[in-house]
Subunit: 279 residues, 2 copies
Amino acid sequence: MKEKNLWIRDHWDEKRGSSITVMASGMLAKRKTRFQTIEIYDTEGCGRVMMIDGIIMLTESDEFAYHEMITHPAMHVHPDPKQVLVIGGGDGGAVREILKHNVDEVHLCEIDADVISISKEFFPSIACGLCDPRVKIFTDDGAEFINNKAGYYDVILVDSTDPVGPAEVLFREPFYRAMNNALTENGIASTQSEGIYYDLDTIIQLFSFTRKIFPVVEYYYTMVPTYPSGTIGFSFCSKKLHPLRDRADKGIKGLKYYNDSIHNSAFVLPEFARMALKT
Amino acid sequence: MKEKNLWIRDHWDEKRGSSITVMASGMLAKRKTRFQTIEIYDTEGCGRVMMIDGIIMLTESDEFAYHEMITHPAMHVHPDPKQVLVIGGGDGGAVREILKHNVDEVHLCEIDADVISISKEFFPSIACGLCDPRVKIFTDDGAEFINNKAGYYDVILVDSTDPVGPAEVLFREPFYRAMNNALTENGIASTQSEGIYYDLDTIIQLFSFTRKIFPVVEYYYTMVPTYPSGTIGFSFCSKKLHPLRDRADKGIKGLKYYNDSIHNSAFVLPEFARMALKT
């Protein structure tokens, strides 16, 4: 299968000082879908890699750090999450983590059906939960999907791409208002919110309206080597429960990144980011 | 000054899945010294960049995250550090941070005098402390330098390159025994100890002997976008004081990364690293 060695470089723009490159041994697939271009590479250092529109979406080697951390903080703060929605996340990684909890129903709303089919084909260890009977898949625009779901979800995870292209609407105020409406009384949304080093302006912009919509909004982060700057974070948007005061142990074993101490420390920001985001 | 745009790629080996690239606008200097090759680049995204033997040593944009975090944890745990030694660190970044504390004397022992002269020339905001009257510079091998300094230093910082070439000896047991001997009764050494994602084996190897030498050994980390995987850490090796129980506020203002909460959270490791390093 090894065709040749090639460097694949993550998308770079002037805002981002550095860019990640990965040494690939071959391209496994390239598909132009209705929404974007998906490429799958084989690499020795990172396992298989998915790129969307030239941006590294995930690698087999470090996806656990992202998927565990988008999922488990909210799922450990909500006392009994039964109805959970994932917007985006067609690779199935967040769904896999949600299914480690005692949930009744997981809805996955992914705009691009090809992301799901490609993930099932090339990333079975990530997409493994998508065939679970508790999971229902919708191919739809997440921003429209939640409009008629008032008070339905205990937890919503927004596992989106960057705020360009199809995901742009997921970084806007109307979408956060709709999520607030779609959540139950104790509801929590955790949303992919970029990194403190290269996208602090995006986070500040998000917080300028999310803090008007949700009583509790806190940024927390994880470390993912193949994402720009090596770190990416999430907005923890909660209607009532507090991420540090209301966590309960759920007895989940076998995680590689998340633990009870990381839960708290992930909300502690370097001084420059703390100052920029403080209320 | 802008010559052309060129991608400069950090050194890559098979152990490391990904590599950092930086877009440079020109090379400012290249010097082959007795020990290594130093290159200085101008970049728009990261400011000036120093590479040594093809590895990014520092960039103006994120050096604060490294230099504050190699320095301030030990300096906040020791109640009154007066005599401080930096081994390596010829750029002066650690010295600059040390001088924010009420110290009597800082010794800098850098094996390569050219690192110091180049830093003074191209990185004045980093090397600014090297001319302070409290600082004494030695051009010497750090492993030999500390052999006749019994009980002299309150804090030792080892700001070294990776464990290949001149810095290899700084990752070995005899050097840690010599440091233990060179420290005062309450002494603390913080040593550059690579990152949990790509160098966990190096950290495990270090801990296999440092924990026999020092009563307290804990790993802590910082996030530096232009280092491989975006994170790098330090061994906190202490003869008596504990990093979490013995910290005191020192009233230092104007830091960009370090704060009292980061001090504690930096010692909290993702589960895979915690398990690998637990006693």
